[in-house]
Amino acid sequence: MNVAATTDGTAEQTDTASPGRPAPRRRGGRIALAVSVFGELLITGGLVLGLFVVYSLWWTNVLADRKADQQGDKVRDTWAQEQDKGPGALDTGDGIGFLHVPAMKNGEVLVEKGTTSKILNDGVAGYYTDPVKATLPTSGKNGNFSLAAHRDGHGAKFHNIDKLKKGDAIVFETKDKWYVYKVYAALPETSKYNVKTLAAVPKESGKKKAGKYITLTTCTPVYTSRYRYVVWGELVRVDPVDSRRTPPKELD
């Protein structure tokens, strides 16, 4: 290490890097060097943390939106092809449909199976398979269509979940049906262990009887995952999809 040569150059930086220490002058080159390296490491650490924020709140959105668009296009293409061939098999791809929530102002959200981070990181909403299996609306059975998506980063599809009010529409679009739900209850903060919120009859929402429910879960408060935010809706109507895919009036 070339200590003698570096002393002059780095001693000046020491003043700004660590104002709390007395600035060593000229002599004491080793200490000056150590302090300056330490200061530079601190600055570097700060920059890396700043970059991590940029990464989580911006870059993951870019990647996820790109991926979600691709997969969404694939689903729509598959639907179009099946249309041409006449009535055929149900959804074969990963995506089973699209969620439209006008109050969240986030366009359409592709819905896929599963809630692992690998799936959700693609900017989609996932329906639960574990710990409580979601009942798909396409099955026609009573039950709870439970979904999760990111609040921040990775598409942040449920970022505005707190904007959902009682009576707001949640519309789930499949190849040939529009499932129109209405929000009737929300739980702004609950434990992450509260799996009862996903039950077929979610009692915490005030329901006692079996019905066709939808549950959206995400993390809260924003930028952390200390608690979970839960919104419940109930199916009010099922509209058939016409040839031009005219959306139901809730989406106008």
């Binding site: 570096t6 970059l51 991590f52 999760a148 990111h150 992450k192 839960v230």
Partner: protein, 53 residues
Amino acid sequence: MYGWIWRHLPGNAGVKALISLALIVAVVYVLFQYVFPWAEPLLPFNDVTVDNQ
């Protein structure tokens, strides 16, 4: 540290600046491509599901 790197880069100030820029870009790339995706699941910012774990 940075002073040491700067002095050991070849060429005049302009060339040094260019090489520095390339180095910064490379570091940011490695961070975004490998380090952050690895670190993110280890940090408690993005768990959105309710579960038993």
